[in-house]
């Protein structure tokens, strides 16, 4: 092992490789901070260039892109309430309120440090636990998937909202929105109302941008008009300006005491994110949101969540980034990509004539260790480049609101359009913006809807697969040990969360 590690180090520590890893991080960060342009798009754009690079340099570029892009997504989430990537939507919940208070620098630093720390820990999990964890992942079949998804959805619905019934409304609404499109089993269209563009269902980016960013513009605008009607607008403007960059630069500082306070949240969220990451396909959004909810449950100040809690940002970012390392476990050990980014990275490996799989460790052990070292190095570059990047980029929040709102609208249009080059998606964004605006008034949790929408198609297909392999026997969910464990956990978690909520209310 030591020999392979040294050989890997020898392969990686070449100026060319470091340069490409750094460039990958920087490019990924810039792409991630433009709404709609995700790290996946960056990998697609850069994949052809890796033909001309050496194997290590090519992989360093791709890994840097994923790391940089993942953190980059949180920048517009914090500054403008537009998640740069879908998984950054949870960061909006507490990141943007801090920006409104004139503390965008503090929020961005918290996001950066939490991201890098969780990502590095998840890489270590990948390095040391890859083989045993892959064996567990292999045992997860359709019934287990179904129970895990049910567990995630029920826990989210009960924990995310003060009123559990509204949480359930959000989950079922998200699942219903996920049914629009084509039936996965029969291939017939479903609930598309003769709109052929809906045959593939709603795309995630327009939905996320509409629900979170455009609805926020509408709500803010309404507030502004209301204040103007009450003739208090000038006072409010003066107050916002007072909290802004010019008057108090200390607001942007993140003290060691503040960061230390979020460390337990970061470690807890890393654990949750890593556990989610082991299961292929569940994804970073769920990891991030579950971590956030758990952080709120365990926090000494749950009332601060949603109003700019540093713990909230730490949980969202750590939970999101901790998924990355374990997500690569099925790729490096079994040759199965756990998500789209891993699939694209697999493409990058194959371009270089490397085929990850069970024998990869024996045949290309030094390459595998080189990959691990690149992952850790990319984290270091994310920290370094990110620190300088956020210092420059946060200045844009001090510009007046009419510039910001207009910019948000234009970037919402771009973000919705660029994924599929479809104007229909921009209309979808508009409709979801109005829906988000109305649902916010009814105090329905919007991120819960998005997570349920994201998991809905997977739940349906895994549920159908489970019934199909068991000959329509519904007890299949109770006879598989992992599935049964998660169903019991679901009941226990609901009971515990409701009891805790009741206690908090009586207190």
């Amino acid at each position: 092992m030591l020999e392979q590690l040294l050989s890997g180090l020898n392969m990686v520590l070449v100026p060319e490789n470091l340069l490409w890893a750094g460039l990958g991080v920087a490019f990924g960060m810039i792409l991630g901070s433009i709404p709609g342009l995700t790290d996946n798009m960056g990998i697609v754009l850069m994949l052809p260039f890796t033909y001309y690079l050496g194997p290590i340099a090519g992989i360093a570029l791709l890994m840097g892109l994923t790391k940089g892009g993942n953190f980059g997504g949180s920048i517009p989430a914090i500054l403008f309430n537009i998640p740069g990537t879908p998984q950054a939507m949870v960061t909006c919940i507490d990141g943007h309120p801090l920006t409104k208070q004139g503390k965008s620098g503090k929020a961005l630093k918290q996001a950066l440090f939490s991201s890098v720390m969780a990502d590095a820990c998840s890489d270590l999990i990948l390095i040391f636990l890859a083989a045993p964890v892959a064996m567990i992942a292999l045992k997860i079949g359709p019934p287990e998937y179904t129970s895990i998804i049910i567990f995630s959805l029920i826990v989210i619905s009960v924990a995310a909202s003060d009123k559990p019934l509204r949480g359930l409304v959000a989950v079922v609404l998200g699942l219903l929105l996920g049914t629009v499109g084509t039936d996965p089993e029969f291939g017939t269209t479903r609930l598309i109302f003769h709109v052929i563009d809906l045959a593939d269902g709603f795309h995630i980016m327009p939905m996320v941008i509409g629900m979170l960013a455009f609805s926020e513009v509408l709500l803010q605008l309404e507030q502004q008009i209301m204040n103007r009607l009450r003739k208090r607008f000038s006072e409010i403007q003066a107050e916002v300006f007072k909290n802004g960059d010019v008057i108090n630069p200390d607001y942007h500082r993140l003290s060691w005491k503040e960061f230390r306070g979020t460390l337990p949240t970061i470690f807890r969220s890393t654990g949750i994110g890593a556990a989610i990451g082991i299961i292929p396909g569940i994804g970073t959004t769920v990891g991030s949101y579950l971590s956030y909810i758990m952080a709120k449950q365990y926090s000494k100040h749950p009332e601060k969540f949603g109003n700019g809690a540093l713990e909230g940002i730490a949980a969202a970012e750590a939970g999101n980034n901790a998924v990355n390392g374990p997500n690569l476990i099925p790729l490096v050990t079994l040759g199965i990509p756990g998500n789209l980014a891993a699939a694209l990275i697999l493409g990058g490996f194959m371009i270089k004539g490397l085929v990850p799989g069970p024998t990869f460790m024996q045949t290309n052990g030094d390459m595998l260790y080189a990959l691990f070292i690149i992952l850790l190095l990319s984290n270091f570059f994310t920290l370094l480049i990110g620190y300088f990047y956020i210092k420059r980029v946060r200045k844009v929040t001090s510009i007046p609101k009419f510039y910001l709102f207009t910019g948000i609208i234009v970037f919402s249009v771009i973000g919705s359009y660029v994924s599929y080059a479809s104007l229909f998606d921009v209309y979808v964004m508009l409709v979801f913006g109005i829906l988000g605006y109305l649902l916010t008034k009814f105090k329905i949790n919007l991120p819960t809807i998005i997570v349920a929408f994201f998991l809905g198609p997977m739940l349906e297909s895994k549920f159908r697969q489970s019934l199909s392999i068991s000959g329509d026997d519904a007890t299949v969910f109770l006879t598989k040990p992992i599935s049964l464990t998660f169903l019991i956990l679901t009941i226990a978690a609901v009971f515990f969360l409701l009891k805790r909520k009741k206690k908090l209310m009586t207190d």
Partner: protein, 148 residues
């Protein structure tokens, strides 16, 4: 009418629409309709629970949250929606960059900007930056339309 009653009735109305109109007319076959139907039943049950909660809290004289879905400010704010719809509609016809330039001016006026120089500068600079970064550097094509 309290918050719960409004929400419960709105969801129940949506469930009725889905059950009696959308599912029979827009899903082919009972097998394909099974999953959406079970979700509608779940949603209807939740809405009934919310309604019961609302009725109970009304009877107990619970706190009524005083808010209206649409007030003067919200109607004014929602004026952005038709402007956005026209903007999106014209992107394909006129061209993304030109129409974005025009609508940035409109949106800025809507949001309270009054200084002509800053409005003109911003409306020209933002599309130019988008053109350079996304259009040229990343080679992403936006609809060109009859102009640009």
């Amino acid at each position: 009418m309290n918050d719960e009653l409004k929400l419960g009735s709105a969801i129940l109305a949506c469930c009725c629409f889905m059950w009696f109109y959308a599912i029979p007319n827009h899903i082919k076959g009972p097998q394909a309709a099974l999953y959406p139907k079970s979700l509608i039943i779940a949603m209807a049950m939740i809405s009934l629970m919310i309604l019961i909660k609302g009725i109970r809290s009304r009877k107990n004289g619970g706190q009524e949250e005083k808010w209206t879905l649409l007030n003067e400010a919200s109607v004014k704010a929602l004026l952005v929606v038709p402007i956005m719809a026209v903007y999106i509609f014209l992107i394909d016809i006129v061209g993304f960059y030109t129409i974005t330039f025009v609508f940035i001016i409109l949106f800025m006026l809507c949001f309270g900007a009054r200084r002509p120089l800053s409005i003109c500068l911003y409306s020209a600079l933002l599309p130019a930056i988008i053109y350079l970064v996304i259009g040229k550097l990343l080679s992403f094509p936006f609809p060109a339309g009859i102009l640009f």
